[in-house]
């Protein structure tokens, strides 16, 4: 809110420079945004919070200044502006009816005879300083009242009003209006209009209509000062995309008790600048009366809420200066119901105040609201500094945090860097990762790039890989811990993306590109860290290459997926189609469920020697290592500790489609030394099963 210091001084004799005043006001909740020198005057720009529409005016800010400086507030509104029409002339009024009083509680109208022209220089210069463009003496008067009183007004050309009459009603179906900005607008049936006997001439509280605009040829006007419902003005202004100085104030709440005063001020100014004179009495149509609110306060309540002692004289001085009417009540027995949450039992002998809220303070509803005013103007700098007492035990630590940290450390130790990507992603990036249920779309996304909640962590990681790739970085190893969303809810997961070299270039050799088994290795390591045994089962996913995709299972339950991204997807996300990008995603919530909760205990070291046997077999090359190992384990006795594949050979001497495997089996019993015949029998059984079930040939 831009205000001119000289204008403020019409209402309060405040000493000091604009800087000094601004510094003091900023401490009292009215922050100064900036000062512009305007000749020997100054324009002060105050930051007014949305709950204080009363401060969107010279008078409102002057009242705050007067309270801070302990000075009286001068009203400046004299009873003048009596009708100057000659004795013989007929007093002229306009009939006002309000069929929709739920949207307009009060409508004050006055007819005036005018000579339209420019307003005087002083008025123009004041308006310009406050950011309002001077238009004509009539419009300038309404804007002058707007800035000075915070009360939006309007002027109609009397000759253009059918009737002439004023009807405050909801718009009719299909009704249209051309507003002052020259735009033709369709009105909804729940929008309030000011109409004449025939049609809409203004959108109530938002903007006037072009047809009844005051022009050079206007000789008689109707001044309007009215109170419109904040919800209605807000909804209409938002729907029409039309924000004005008037709608800005009405939607925050105008003073229902000040409507007639605003009109008096306008008529007074009209006469004062010689622009015209009222041609009859003011019509005040007030279907819904103002209900004065009051709250009850006690000194002990003020002390308890603020946490400091405020002298009682200061409390009453502050409230009175702000326009509250304070009456002392002898004693107070029970707390007012609305004070309940902040009211401790109050000694029945203590006295209390009844505080009547002025009409312009639409923000004061509860005792604490009034107490805040006392605290603000007494000065929060008087609050004693103390440590807040801790009354609550600290919240129990969430074991998901410990789990995440375990996973994070393990991945960082494996040389993977942590990425953080947005939870909102493009619909196109999400499409391959959706289940049957479709994406969780945002109702009102900031842009197409943030249209849906991510169904998987992989789209974000893929784009991060793509970013690195575009910046010349070929080797990328990233993970992210985060939440994924589907229509049924959300789950926490870890995602990994890996492309480029698996091991760095080194003179000892060994540099090679990452492959499926590297990403599988990460999954196995993570499972080891979480103390669960991983199983991998081939699978198919629209976002993975067939034959290079596996599901990660723990205790038979699927908790993740891993594999290589297909070239089509790479291309879609701006990655070179020839790149090999491997990804992994694990549902951490499902993983935690499988992690053992019982304490682990040490096993004694073996006291008896192990027996090692190697076998070589020929099997079909399509058999997975897991099947071979599983068959051996199933056939072997409980003393079979370990099975390892130590050689794999295909080529000369081996039939097409066959593979030669060399396996090393370790047997050991905790309580005795195994005999040769015992192990021999076990080996016989194993070879037998391999032959029978897998068609293996022992070499």
């Amino acid at each position: 809110m831009k205000v001119l210091l000289s204008w403020i001084r019409e209402f309060v004799d405040v000493p000091g420079t604009a800087d000094e005043i601004g510094a003091r006001m900023s401490l009292r909740g009215l922050a100064l945004e900036g000062i512009d020198q305007h000749g020997d005057d100054a324009v002060m720009d105050f930051d007014v919070t949305a709950n204080r529409p009363d401060c969107l005016s010279i008078v409102g800010i002057a009242r705050e200044i007067a309270t801070v400086y302990g000075l009286p507030l001068k009203d400046g509104l004299r009873d003048g502006a009596r009708s100057k029409t000659g004795a013989g002339a007929e007093a002229l009024t306009i009939p006002v009816s309000i069929p929709d009083p739920d949207l307009c509680a009060r409508y004050v109208a006055a007819v005036a005879d005018v000579n339209v022209g420019p307003s005087p220089d002083w008025m123009q210069s004041r308006l310009s300083a406050c950011g309002i463009r001077p238009i004509s003496n009539i419009v300038d008067v309404t804007n002058y009242v707007l800035i000075e009183r915070g009360y939006p007004m309007h002027a109609f050309d009397h000759a253009k009003l059918a009737g002439p009459a004023i009807v405050v009603r909801r718009a009719r179906r299909g009704e249209r209006i051309t507003t002052l900005d020259g735009k033709d607008r369709a009105l909804d049936v729940d929008m309030l209009v000011i109409a004449d006997a025939e049609r809409a001439q203004a959108i109530g509280g938002v903007m006037g209509g072009a047809d009844s605009e005051v022009s050079d040829t206007t000789t008689r006007i109707v001044f309007e000062a009215a109170w419109f419902s904040p919800q209605s003005v807000r909804a209409t202004s938002k729907r029409l995309g039309l924000r004005t100085e008037a709608s800005y104030r009405f939607e925050r709440g105008a003073d229902l008790t000040a409507t007639a005063r605003a009109m008096r001020r306008a008529l007074q100014l009209l006469v004062e600048i010689g622009a015209g004179a009222p041609s009859g009495p003011v019509v005040d149509c007030h279907p819904v009366p103002h209900v004065t609110r009051a709250v009850t306060l006690s000194p002990s309540q003020v002390r308890r809420v603020l946490g400091m002692d405020v002298p009682e004289d200061d409390t009453t001085r502050i409230l009175t200066s702000l326009g509250f009417e304070v009456t002392t009540l002898g004693s107070w027995h029970a707390a007012a119901p609305e004070a309940a949450p902040l009211t401790a039992p109050i000694a029945p002998t203590g006295h209390a105040w009844r505080v009547q809220v002025p009409g312009w303070r639409v923000d004061i509803h509860r005792p604490v609201d009034a107490i805040e005013e006392v605290g603000r103007h007494y000065g929060f700098e008087h609050l004693p500094s103390t440590f807040p007492p801790v009354e609550q035990p600290p919240a129990e630590s969430d074991n998901r945090l410990a789990r995440d940290s375990r996973v994070r450390r393990a991945l960082v130790a494996m040389g993977v860097s942590e990425a953080i990507t947005f939870a909102f992603i493009e619909a196109a990036a999400a499409s391959s990762f959706l289940g049957d249920e479709g994406p969780v779309a945002l109702a009102n996304p900031l842009s197409e790039k943030f249209a849906v909640l991510r169904p998987s962590l992989l789209p974000g990681l893929i784009d991060a890989v793509s970013h690195n790739r575009r910046h010349g970085r070929r080797d990328v190893r990233l993970f992210e811990l985060g939440t994924r969303f589907n229509p049924r809810g959300e789950t926490r997961a870890v995602g990994v993306a890996w492309t480029g070299l698996a091991t760095p270039e080194h003179w000892s050799g060994g540099a090679r590109d990452v492959d499926f088994f590297d990403i599988k290795g990460i999954a196995e390591q993570l499972c080891a860290v979480m103390q669960v045994a991983a199983e991998f089962v081939p699978t198919a996913r629209p976002y993975l290459v067939d034959g290079r995709a596996a599901e990660l299972r723990i205790n038979g339950r699927s908790i993740g997926v891993l594999g290589q991204l297909p070239s089509g997807l790479l291309d879609q996300r701006d990655l070179p189609a020839g790149d090999a990008v491997f990804v992994l995603e694990i549902d951490l919530d499902a993983l935690s469920l499988q992690t053992p909760r019982t304490a682990t205990f040490a096993r004694p070291l073996p006291r008896h020697p192990a027996v090692i046997r190697d076998i070589a077999i020929l099997v079909d090359e399509t058999l997975s290592a897991d099947t071979v190992r599983g068959t051996i384990r199933a056939a072997g006795p409980s003393t079979l500790l370990d099975v390892r594949e130590f050689d794999r050979y295909q080529g000369t001497g081996i039939a097409e489609g066959q593979v030669s495997l060399a396996l090393r089996l370790t047997f050991q019993a905790p309580d005795r030394t195994l005999t040769d015949s015992e192990v021999h029998a076990a080996m016989e059984r194993i070879v037998g099963e391999l032959t029978q079930r897998l068609g293996a040939i022992q070499r």
Binding site: R409, V412, S417, E418, A419, T421, A464, H471, R473, D475
Partner: protein
């Protein structure tokens, strides 16, 4: 104030966008120390 701004001051980061780009050249400058993330 967002967390990024505190991190910006702590690690003397010149451009806040680096926190959203997941550029390996940036990420590799950090590791996990005994009490959380640390510059390395």
């Amino acid at each position: 104030m967002g967390l990024e701004r505190v991190a910006l001051l702590k690690w003397n980061v010149e451009d806040i966008r680096l926190f959203y780009e997941n550029d390996m050249r940036f990420l590799e400058q950090f590791g996990i120390g005994p009490s959380g993330i640390e510059g390395v």
